[in-house]
Amino acid sequence: MTLATLIVRNVRRQAFRVVLTALGIATIILTFNLIITTVRAWYAGVEASAPNRLITRHAASLSIHLPLSYRDRLAAVNGVTGVTFANWFGGVYRDAKGFFPQFAVDPDSFLDLHPELLVDPDTQQNFLSDRRACLIGRRLADLYGWRVGDAIPLKGTLYPGDWEFVVRGIYRGAEPSVDENWMVIRWDSVNERRRQFDPDRADTVGWYVLRIADPSAAGAVSRAVDDTFANSVAETRTETEQAFQAGFVAMSGSIVRALELLAIVLNGVTLLVLANTLVMAVRERTREWAVLRTLGFERRHLAALITGEALLIAGLGSIAGIAITIPATDLYATLVSTKLGNFFQQLVVYPSTLLLGTLATLITACCAAALPLVTVLRNKVADDLRHIG
């Protein structure tokens, strides 16, 4: 026999109560994992950002476009090895709910600067040779059941009128964090139409994407770019792609922070649930603790017994929580996509999320053990030996 034997036997005394507590902890862990998964999905774009890409946009606002003529001057900035650009198209498919990101891009340079969008050479060639062509992400194609050759009608908002694009390829992301919900169309075909109906805004782009040779020089290159266009009609603001993406997350920062706060509060609930069970279990055995102390058991032994009991119950809850997290996340992702389409690029549970949830629970278990432990140690052995409970 070891102290662990006594811990296990003590936990098994009130099996029903322990099972209920473990299930409560499992539910909390599940919720915690779903929240962290959601928060991480929010930051997926930031995580997917390439360290060697900069974004140059109008200094005043992203809604004000930059001249196409900047392209060559940007390419000439020291440290810049490639330039492409994109416009936000903002079309609507069928109705307002049928929204997904659409970018009008320069096809050749865009694919060159975004190697994480995997397309085979034939697809790339088809995209380059057809002005009505579009590329769509795999998840977007799955959502609407689109296949290569399908025509996608869009109602323009920023670019008024009815549009139709033909799917010439479906890209996959090189990493799970790469957004597979984009629709990429050709800037030249959009610009051509704009020349006819809105010539003042033709030949402009929403933002430039710059590839730099050395990611550690991002700050210096950004300054060099912005200095190039200082005091011009359209001054620029250049930042890393990661900072650019983080800016979008910051727009919904309150929601993300609320979710993060909720995750912390959940650990507080674990603390209360577990502490309640432990306080009851330990109080029921008041006389037994006194007997152990009479036999020569020290404070550290009692600490090991009570903390071990807390960790065992929390561990059981963690195992159950992890076991239900993976299928529950799939269900959650399905429900979210039903309501929000592909709002989140990926609702995937990372091992690090499971580890974080488990560690938080086990640390909370140690805290929960403190209250009954302090009570036991503060009591006089002689008094506890007379305890009737």
């Binding site: 026999m1 070891t2 034997t5 006594l6 098994r12 006389r287 009479t294 020569g296 002689a382 030996l385």
Partner: protein, 225 residues
């Protein structure tokens, strides 16, 4: 040169505070128990008998006075040192047996040995020997609920002797037993005294149990009667 007593209480006073009242339990109590003595302390309920045992075992502290037992000044020790000292020197026998209900007889007896560096095999050997000594060699794997009161108390005695302590402190060891079971428990304590020459201090209000002791101290209202 004389051998120092195994237990020595000098001018011990103990009082409890309940609310704003101070309740005296022991008043200027003196006791000297030589090595190898079997002493019974008799007295009515509430006379302070159990308090004496608790003070000797270091489970409580005197309000005043000093207590020496098995070579140390018990009343001056830190909690951790007292726990280690008890594990090595004190075997405690309780009136209500106080076995851990989720452990078998053998596991209950093994508990004090978990605090020693003995190997698993050595512990098992000692546990078996202790249970055979109390006549329960065939009840090793029985849980307390599967034993009679007398058997439970014998397991309690086995738990007290398994670590081969210097002193045995027995608090009403027969208080919860019928006559036959009580006799069998007292025979065991007598064997510990006579064959193993252990120092025993037993608190009881049962004159029949006290007859097994070498000396009897009558006690009432916190003083020797």
């Amino acid at each position: 040169m004389t051998t120092p007593p195994m237990i020595e209480c000098c001018h011990v006073t103990k009082s409890y505070v309940r609310g704003d009242q101070e309740i005296p339990v022991l008043q200027n109590f003196n006791l000297s128990v030589p090595v190898g003595q079997f002493l019974a302390i008799m007295g009515p309920s509430g006379s302070g008998k159990t308090t004496i045992l608790n003070l000797i075992a270091g489970l409580d502290r005197p309000t005043d006075g000093t207590i020496r037992a098995a070579g140390i000044e018990v009343s001056q020790q830190r909690e951790t040192d007292l726990a280690r000292w008890r594990a090595r020197h004190v075997g405690f026998i309780f009136q209500f047996y106080n076995l851990i209900p989720v452990l078998t007889a053998a596991e209950n007896v093994e508990l004090p040995l978990l605090l020693t560096p003995l190997s698993k095999q050595e512990r098992a050997k000692r546990v078996r020997a202790a249970l055979e000594l109390v006549g329960l060699g065939d009840r090793l794997h029985h849980y307390p609920r599967q034993l009679s009161g007398g058997q439970e108390q014998r397991v309690g005695i086995a738990r007290a002797i398994v670590g081969d302590p210097t002193i045995f402190l027995a608090d009403e060891p027969t208080g919860n037993l019928d006559r036959d079971a009580a006799e069998s428990v007292m025979m065991l304590l007598r064997r510990l005294h006579q064959e193993l020459h252990k120092t025993i201090v037993m608190v009881t209000h049962d004159p029949r149990a006290a007859e097994y002791a070498q000396d009897i101290l009558h006690f009432d209202k916190g003083k020797e009667a």
